[in-house]
């Protein structure tokens, strides 16, 4: 039964998401709905005049007709683009507003709910909702804000527009009508989200966020090496040992205090046996001869706090505590 359910889930996922395409669909030159076909149809008469002018070697007239076609098409593309970015902004603002309300409502509910189980349910639901929201943001908008996407599309379009403006000065022999139509298509595509995402990937300046101006300025503070799982695990290992020793000393029960003090003396003796750690004890003015367990415990704190956190001597101190403090 479980296997059937699993197969069913996998089939649903595959058929709803579809198989990936590995190449574009074949070009259909007779498709009347393609963008290029619509341009050609709309400017059929001008294109005929262009061909006639080229054939009769009236190249200045052909150039004029070509530029006329370009300048006639571009405003239509600008209008469509304006509608597109208005719809994106409005749509995304609305979605974000509703999603924010849901998150805020759930967060407020956590604050006023009693009981572990309801809190658990709320926590899981809120986590799932945030995960879904992040996934949508990542997959549909690559986690970019709408102003950044619009700015990138504006930039892409401006770049192509500049190319078109420059090339309009060229003669039809170097910039024929076909190349002009290709630039029109490029201008249209420059105002799409796909192109914006690609351009943002290449734009490394956008990837690196500058640090805020109000940096804390540190002088004479060396950088500390980062830690890893193993180093952190061995650093925290003495903590439960020391916690137990402290609890025993704080209990004021004579036997417990004596046992804890004895263990602390053993730790100190281990540290005194190593020249590196013995030096530290001397500087701190503490030794295994100290009868007061609380002072011995404080001595460990004092020594530890004087060392750089990534000082290799620390591992010796940690090992001495773990080996002798239990």
């Amino acid at each position: 039964m479980k296997k059937i359910s699993l197969c069913l889930v996998l089939c649903v996922v595959v058929f709803t998401t579809g198989c990936p395409k590995y190449k574009p669909r074949p070009v259909d030159f007779n498709n009347p709905n393609s963008f290029v076909s619509k341009i050609n149809t709309y400017f059929a008469d001008q294109q005929k005049n262009y061909r006639a002018a080229v054939n009769s070697n009236d190249l200045p007239r052909a150039k004029m007709i070509r530029n006329d076609i370009l300048e006639s098409v571009l405003p239509y593309i600008d209008e469509v683009y304006m509608d597109f970015i208005t719809d994106i902004q409005r749509g995304r603002d609305k979605d974000n507003f509703v999603a924010d309300l849901v998150e805020l409502g759930a967060s407020a509910a956590v604050g006023i709910t009693n009981g572990e189980r309801p809190l658990q349910i709320l926590g899981i639901a809120l986590t799932a909702f945030r995960g879904g929201r992040r996934s949508a943001d990542l997959n549909f908008y690559k986690e970019q804000t709408t102003p950044i996407l619009i700015s990138k599309m504006d930039g892409n379009r401006a770049r192509v527009r500049a190319i078109i403006l420059t090339r309009e000065r060229e003669e039809v022999t170097t910039y024929p009508i076909g190349a002009a139509i290709s630039d029109i298509v490029d201008y249209y595509n420059a105002g799409t989200l796909v192109r914006a995402f690609t351009a943002l990937q290449e734009d490394t300046a956008v990837q690196t966020r500058e640090a805020k101006d109000d940096l804390l300025v540190l002088q004479g503070v060396p950088l500390t090496r980062p830690s890893n799982e193993a180093t952190t695990a061995s650093a925290v290992e003495p903590l439960p040992v020391l916690r137990t020793l402290k609890a025993s000393l704080d209990s004021k029960v004579p036997d417990e205090v004596a046992a804890a003090t004895a263990k602390l003396k053993k730790i100190y003796q281990a540290l005194e046996a190593d020249p590196d750690t013995a030096r530290l004890l001397k500087i701190a003015g503490v030794s295994s001869a100290e009868p007061d367990g609380q002072k011995l415990l404080q001595g460990i704190r004092d020594i530890s706090r004087q060392l750089a956190t990534d000082d290799p001597v620390r591992s010796k101190i940690d090992q001495a505590i773990v080996a002798n403090g239990r």
């Binding site: 924010d100 998150e103 805020l104 759930a106 967060s107 956590v110 604050g111 809190l119 658990q120 709320l122 926590g123 809120l126 986590t127 945030r130 990837q207 690196t208 966020r209 500058e210 640090a211 805020k212 109000d214 940096l215 804390l216 300025v217 540190l218 002088q219 004479g220 503070v221 060396p222 950088l223 500390t224 090496r225 980062p226 830690s227 890893n228 799982e229 180093t231 952190t232 650093a235 925290v236 003495p238 903590l239 439960p240 020391l242 916690r243 402290k246 704190r301 530890s304 706090r305 060392l307 956190t309 620390r314």
Partner: protein, 118 residues
């Protein structure tokens, strides 16, 4: 009559290039809490002798309840509220809010301490 002595604090700087993930920062802070017998108090962006770094301030404590930290990144205020609520449902205690360099990029972070094991 003088009041109680202010606990000592330590500032540790982690290079912006050295912290490759929030998990690395979390492990580093857990290590340093244990070594300093202190609790994390502040996380902020810094410049250490001209190099970008994350400055973490720890304050000495008398107990040995350190470690078990959780660092999470947040983007907006709504995101922050959601994270606070989620971690509250998990029994974690909020420690501080600040900014850190992760892979040389400044990010907003929240720091929580996990519920102590029973």
């Amino acid at each position: 009559m003088p009041g109680p002595a202010k606990p000592s604090s330590h500032t540790v700087a982690y290079g912006a290039n050295d912290i490759d993930s929030l998990k690395t920062l979390e492990l580093s802070c857990e290590r340093d809490e244990a070594h300093l017998f202190a609790n994390i108090k502040k996380v902020q962006l810094a410049s250490a002798d001209g190099v970008n770094a994350t400055a973490v301030t720890y304050e000495d404590v008398d107990d040995f309840d350190m470690g078990h930290l959780t660092f999470v990144q947040f983007t907006t205020d709504v995101d922050k509220q959601s994270q606070m609520a989620i971690h509250k449902t998990q029994g974690e205690t909020f420690q501080c809010e600040g900014q850190a360099f992760v892979n040389n990029i400044a990010v907003n972070v929240l720091v929580f301490r996990e519920k102590a094991a029973q």
